[in-house]
Amino acid sequence: MSAQSEPLVLFAKAARVYPKRVWGRFRKLKWGAMVALLGVYYLAPFLRWDRGPHVPDQAILIDMPARRAYFFMFEIWPQEVYILTGLLVFSAIALFFVTSLFGRVWCGYACPQTVWTDLFVWVERLVQGDRTKRMRLAKAPWSLEKLGKLTLTHMLWLVIGLFTGGAWVLYFNDAPTLIEQALDGAIPWSVGVWILALTFSTYFMAGFARENVCTYYCPYSRFQSAMFDRDSLVIGYDTARGEPRGKHKAGDSWDERGDCIDCHQCVDVCPMGIDIRDGLQMQCIACGLCIDACDSIMDKVDRPRGLVRYDTTANQDARAEGRPEPSTLVRGRTLYYAAILAVVGGLILVGLLGRTEHSLHVLHDRNPLFVTLADGTVRNGYEVNILNKTHGDADYQLRVEGLPGAEMRLRTAGQEHSGDISVFANSVGHFRLFITAPKGRTDRHDFDIVLSDADGQVIDRYTTKFVTGDGR
């Protein structure tokens, strides 16, 4: 090693990307997706859904203090949180399924990182101008104009971030009430913390981190290689048609050269800052903006569109060799993703349709396990919880099955009850249950506690045990 060798640096600072404005069909699709998705995000908390009295009327609401989640006609209690888990699994498989059909459309059009970054770039362009102007401004020495433009940009970003965080908390609180509180400046501190956290994470992620999130943070882009095959729809540069590339003057012949005029437009518009002509890259989020850029140039030089386009690697190779294009949407990969999706979706549906509105849970006392009474009989204690998930008060009957001759004492708070009890709407009724086995019954015994409605129709049963000292 030479004496002058520089210290080894393993970290390359990411160059700032200044995406250029572009017009075209995929850009239009992206604008449409952005408006639709942001519209849903910001407006969905204001949808109302009448569920009757004493229950929130917000269509989509996760009520943390009350431990309830509402989604239109569905309502989830903490015991049913597996449905939310199922929904997450479903979403993940759906993502894989869509990827196997159309490639990284999620990344290019629907991912919040893409959508908010797109919005932030739009703001940046509105204030500072297009790519070259922005680059010049970044290099320019500090001036009042630069300060003003940068301040305005960052202020607008922060305002967008504030609305992002502001909309997020609406999903966890009654939206109109919270907005009233916010206007009075009296929001709970927990809500304020969430708003601030999301304001600054949006500001950081969409304002600064941008494409680095996709390249370095995002696990989904990292395991693309495991999901891609030669039939995956990707954005491809038609090397056979484009090369050899080179500048082209109007009137020159197109013979003996490729269609790529090396105008660099596809690179300038790329939000990831890559050159699509280098082939498929991990960074490519398949947003299609380079296709728009290239198509508009091809129109100008009067060559056919599609030098850069959505295509599969298999099709590209087949075309280059003059074979028919083999890729179809129906493949093993798409089929088994569809099958898994159907199974998970079916399970969620079964969970939702099989949801009980009343249920019984019993916990046998552990300390003491049993109590010997003065007359020699043995008593066991139980905590009984009855879930009334309906929106009306409900009457129940509770009885013991499989322990003949057992005596039952039921208590709520300080009051003794017969087996007839009631539980308020949308709540859990807590009861204390004492069961005394008949004299002479000293074995350990499994039995059922049966919950029925006021008419005696059995709703739920819970198998628990009766413990005695001798039965151990």
Binding site: M1, A3, P7, D365, R366, N367, P368, V371, T372, L373, A374, D375, G376, R379, G381, R411, T412, A413, G414, Q415, R432, F434
Partner: protein, 298 residues
Amino acid sequence: MSTTDRDEMSGAETTGHEWDGIKELNLPAPRWWLIVFLLTVIWGVGYMVVYPAWPTLSGEGNRGGTPGTAGWSSYSELSDSQQEIMTRRAAYLADFREASYDDILADPGLFEFARAGGGAAFKDNCATCHGTGGAGAPGYPNLNDDAWIWGGTHADIEASIAYGIRSAHGETRVSQMPAFGDLLSAEEISAVTGHVLSLGGGDSSTPLGAQIFSEQCALCHGEAGHGNRDLGAPNLADAIWLYGGTAGEISTQIRSPRHGQMPAWSGRLDADTIRQLTIFVHSLGGGEGAEDSGGSAR
């Protein structure tokens, strides 16, 4: 003065120290680190002014240290948090003090307040002897069952807790059984043990045993052995035995009875806590209504 010596490999400055041709590099902490360190020193000085920091020789008043300008101390923090608990309890306490036991049973809010407070106090004060679940142990009564030596109504339980059993309190419940080992022969004790065992059902009674029981025991425990709560004489006909129910355990208790003690809790616990404890113990499952009180026959 002299030009600084630099290491060839890394280009870093050396300290000039050299051992066997190996030079020590001078790699000071980064500037930002130094600045942060100095800031923490400044912060620390401020902290010593604002908060209690330095021990002083005078222990009184400032609790043995400089008080700090903020007036904060862990003592004041503790009393503040205790004050906060008292404030929260106060919402219920006013009603709780006025309510009779029947009123409390009828009011779910008050009942839960009393039961929760009583449960916490029970674990702090009573669980040592009676167990966390109140199931007791030999010599320490099980509070879940329906056998009560001194009575199981709310009033009985409150008196037992407040004044204790054989405690130093003037109102204490007290009972003492003579040590019959000094008064009866071994055969007589054996005979009376047989009679005691037969009270709950059984045929171990002998004429001698019945006679001795009638002469010596029935005065307190009753002819049928049903006990007497006014005297604190346990029911001998039921299935509950404080010191065990085998012939050996019973004859031991006849020969030289053990007498457990329970401290009086009035004075240690406030009246509200004792009432909460009463509700809690009564709710364990064996509590008696007012109509059951005194009734030892069942």
